[in-house]
């Protein structure tokens, strides 16, 4: 058993203690911890006294999801039931979340398919025939037909794609419409068809607390002009954290814009929450403390780690990407935006938050193979940065897991490889802009606008499957809060030095070397490892 006895705890000089069963303090006999390094699995030996924060077990999924959807539509929060809003001949737009949610993609039927199936039937029953479904990609890449089919199911795909089910185009000169501006001067410009519809229904899949709510419409259906209000280094630096909307300047800005949207448009929100069952057998042991693994778990891990170590990168990526996650739907809420999202956030908190006391000097995390922006493509170096300083650093509520000026040790090969289609503008950003400056404010002021208006990259976004040219800048800004807070980031397992150096990181040849570097002169640094994936968020009390 790895949790220290009271006597051992008393003997330990550490200032922090395990405060929750999912916060495990290691001792000399603890098994090695398993973490992702891209698309490989590694074992590391953490020193005795280090804490490992594990995800909560998956919340039990709803037994009858369809019944829950019908109940939510007929008993919405703070507004009339959906059927009462319908009349024959009206123009309806249904907007849905894009491929970035959930992560990894969920096993069919996707939550969107289940909700859409019932909503479309209800619309048909009420004589509503003018219906278009828009994938709220904002400036993300367009989803491919097969990705859309996976999300909405065969029947809806065959009936609606591509004329009445399509990707949002934030750069269509005729396809956007100004809604107005907030009292902070934030311009709200949205998809014209959505703005001009009689009713906009938003179907969300809520994975983490930063998803959903006002973000759904105000970000999902907007374009570069609106995103500039909050996707900039100044706002990003004031987010503590992205996962805590009450402490996020980004969420506050989006909320102002969303309230303007709710005043101007007739919007009905449907949000679904998922549990954190990312892995099915034989990987489900990754949810649990390694000390509690059975012989079969260990054998499964060894077999998988061995196989992955022998396969080429493309095959490893294919293995993970072809296996959808067996997520369960844990809640369906419908109605007015803020009332709905409050319920969603409660459900998210109950799945992800683990109480943690005392900030660490060193945060340890493996960077997995996937982020919201590389579904079906490679996790390029800029996205590795987003995962480390953006997402993983921000998996907290209250205060960061690591103290100000502390170190983060991550595991990833940092290979200099980019998907030439999805991430075409990233290449230019990474090899042209980043070598000139890492200062997000300088980038924002001197490079962003020109880059974001690059006609060739915009064409790739509009007619290909590339991210918008503003996106790599946003990826850099996304890491801004982490960059401001962390003293250093040390990469273990990088296959080159120059990528980490471009990102402002250091490299170590081994975990002990990284620990020695991160410890500096401190004899007994507090070390905390976030055991992810699946997702866990620290509810930090300092």
């Amino acid at each position: 058993m790895s949790i220290l006895s009271p006597a051992a705890l008393a003997a330990r000089p550490s200032k922090v203690r395990s405060t929750h069963p999912l916060v495990v303090t290691l001792d000399q006999q603890s098994a090695p911890r398993v973490l992702f390094s891209g698309d490989r699995l590694l074992e590391i030996d953490l020193p005795a006294g280090a804490r490992v924060v594990y995800p909560r077990p998956p919340i039990e999924a709803l037994k009858d999801v369809d019944a829950a959807i019908r109940y939510a539509l007929n008993h919405p929060l703070n507004c009339d039931p959906l059927h009462a809003k319908l009349r024959p001949g009206m123009k309806v737009v249904i907007a849905i979340d894009d491929v970035s949610l959930p992560l990894p993609p969920m096993r069919r039927p996707d939550a969107r398919e289940r909700v859409l199936t019932i909503v479309l039937q209800m619309l048909a029953d009420h004589g509503v025939e003018d219906v278009e479904i828009i994938i709220a990609t904002s400036i993300h890449r367009r989803m491919t037909g097969e990705e859309v089919r996976h999300a909405v199911g065969d029947r809806i795909y065959d009936a609606y794609w591509p004329d009445r089910l399509y990707n949002h185009d934030a750069e269509d000169p005729k396809g956007m419409k100004l809604v107005g501006a907030t009292d902070h001067g934030e311009v709200v410009e949205l998809n014209r068809r959505a703005v001009e519809s009689d009713l906009l229904i938003y179907v969300n899949v809520n994975l983490v607390p930063m998803d959903g709510g006002h973000k759904s419409v105000a970000v999902g259906l907007c374009g570069y002009r609106s995103l500039r209000a909050h996707h900039n280094p100044h706002v990003m630096r004031e987010c503590w954290s992205y996962m805590d909307p009450s402490k996020s300047a980004l969420a506050t800005s989006v909320e102002r814009m969303g309230r303007l949207v709710e005043k101007a448009l007739n919007v009905f929100h449907i949000e679904t929450t998922l549990n954190n069952r990312m892995f099915d057998r034989p990987l489900e042991m990754l949810h649990r403390n390694e000390d509690d693994w059975s012989g079969a778990d260990r054998a499964a891990y060894k077999g998988l780690a061995f196989t992955l170590s022998k396969l080429p990168q493309a095959a490893r990526q294919a293995i993970f990407q072809r296996v959808p996650s067996p997520y369960g739907v844990t809640g369906v809420f419908a109605g007015e935006c803020e009332a709905v999202h409050e319920r969603t956030l409660e459900r998210c908190s109950s799945q992800y938050l683990v109480p943690l006391q005392g900030q660490a000097d060193i945060l340890v995390a493996g960077i997995p193979y996937i982020s919201p922006y590389n579904v079906n493509s490679f996790l390029n170096p800029l996205l590795v940065q987003v995962m480390a300083q953006g997402y993983l650093f921000n998996l907290y509520k209250g205060a960061p897991v690591v103290r100000k000026g502390g170190a983060m040790i991550i595991f990833h090969p940092c290979t200099d490889h980019f998907d030439k289609e999805h991430h075409a503008p990233y290449v230019d950003f990474f090899h042209d802009v980043l070598p000139q400056t890492r200062d997000a404010a300088v980038m924002h002021k001197e490079f962003e606008e020109k880059f974001a208006n690059n006609p060739a990259y915009i064409e790739m976004y509009r007619r290909g499957h590339a991210y918008h040219p503003a996106h790599p800048f946003y990826m850099w800004y996304w890491g801004e809060a982490g960059r401001q807070h962390l003293g250093r980031v040390i990469v273990v397992g990088a296959d080159n030095d120059y990528v980490p150096r471009l990102l402002g990181w250091e490299t170590a040849r081994s975990f002990p070397e990284a620990l020695a570097m991160a410890s500096g002169n401190k004899r007994d640094p507090e070390i905390t490892m976030l055991h992810i994936p699946p997702i866990v968020m620290a509810d930090m009390a300092v």
């Binding site: 075409a424 006609p455 990259y457 064409e459 509009r462 290909g464």
Partner: protein, 235 residues
């Protein structure tokens, strides 16, 4: 300041040099001359096909030789009809948007084509381009000699003409864009800071992926290239 240089055939329009040529030959003063002109052109087709594979410039010379004897007046009078019949409807749907976006960025938009200037002028007006670098027929006593005036716009010569055009207007080539569908335009693509390939064949697409040049498809309505996934995995 910056400029965007566009190849035309296969890049902005789905037609090629043969289409307007065929239109002119089919619209001679009388049907007999049309038949004879077309027959002559057909007889020269194998040589042209061979030249196209070996030297784009030689291909242009052979192709425009079939214009020999056509009057300048006739070429000009038929230009509007030739443009309507062979080009206007062949412009890719996204071409005008792309040109417009370049204009919004303050770019001069230059069509760089081996086609005839009188057709390119009309296409420029249609898509919103601001300048044309194109081939010009040589005339003697008001009739085409079947030769092209120098310089012949083709292959590597396009790169020199683009460089010269930019220098003459004080444009910084590092800030300029170039767009083409053809491997023969790699020299032109290589002289600007922002090359972009459009509707490429396999050879050009592989080159573009290697150098991380943007690849856009105005001809597919947004579908991902069939070979994209394969090409990305190539070393």
């Amino acid at each position: 300041m910056a400029a965007s240089f566009f190849d035309v055939d296969g890049t902005l329009v789905r037609t090629n040099l043969l289409h307007p040529t065929a239109f002119y030959l089919a619209n001679q003063p009388n049907p007999l001359r049309s038949v004879l002109s077309l027959a002559r052109a057909a007889a020269g087709a194998p040589r042209m096909a061979l030249a196209e594979m070996v030297d784009r410039r030689r291909f242009n010379e052979l192709l425009f030789a079939v214009y020999k004897g056509i009057s300048s007046d006739r070429l000009n009078i038929l230009a509007d009809d030739a443009f309507e019949a062979s080009m206007r409807r062949a412009v890719y749907p996204g071409a005008r948007d792309l040109v417009q976006r370049c204009r919004e960025q303050g770019h001069e938009v230059v069509l760089v084509s081996g086609a005839l200037d009188l057709l390119m002028d009309r296409l420029a007006a249609h898509v919103g381009a601001t300048a044309v670098i194109a081939n010009r027929l040589e005339f003697q006593d008001g009739y085409a000699t079947g030769k092209l005036r120098r310089p012949i716009v083709a292959g590597p010569e396009k790169a020199r003409l683009v460089r010269e055009w930019a220098k003459g207007r004080g444009e910084d080539l590092d800030e300029c864009f170039a767009y083409s569908d053809s491997y023969s335009d790699v020299p032109m693509l290589s002289v600007v800071g922002h090359p972009c390939v459009v509707n490429p064949d396999l050879r050009l697409e592989k080159l573009a992926r290697t150098y991380a040049w943007p690849v856009i498809h105005l001809d597919r309505g947004g579908k991902r290239g069939a070979m994209s996934g394969f090409l990305e995995r190539l070393p």
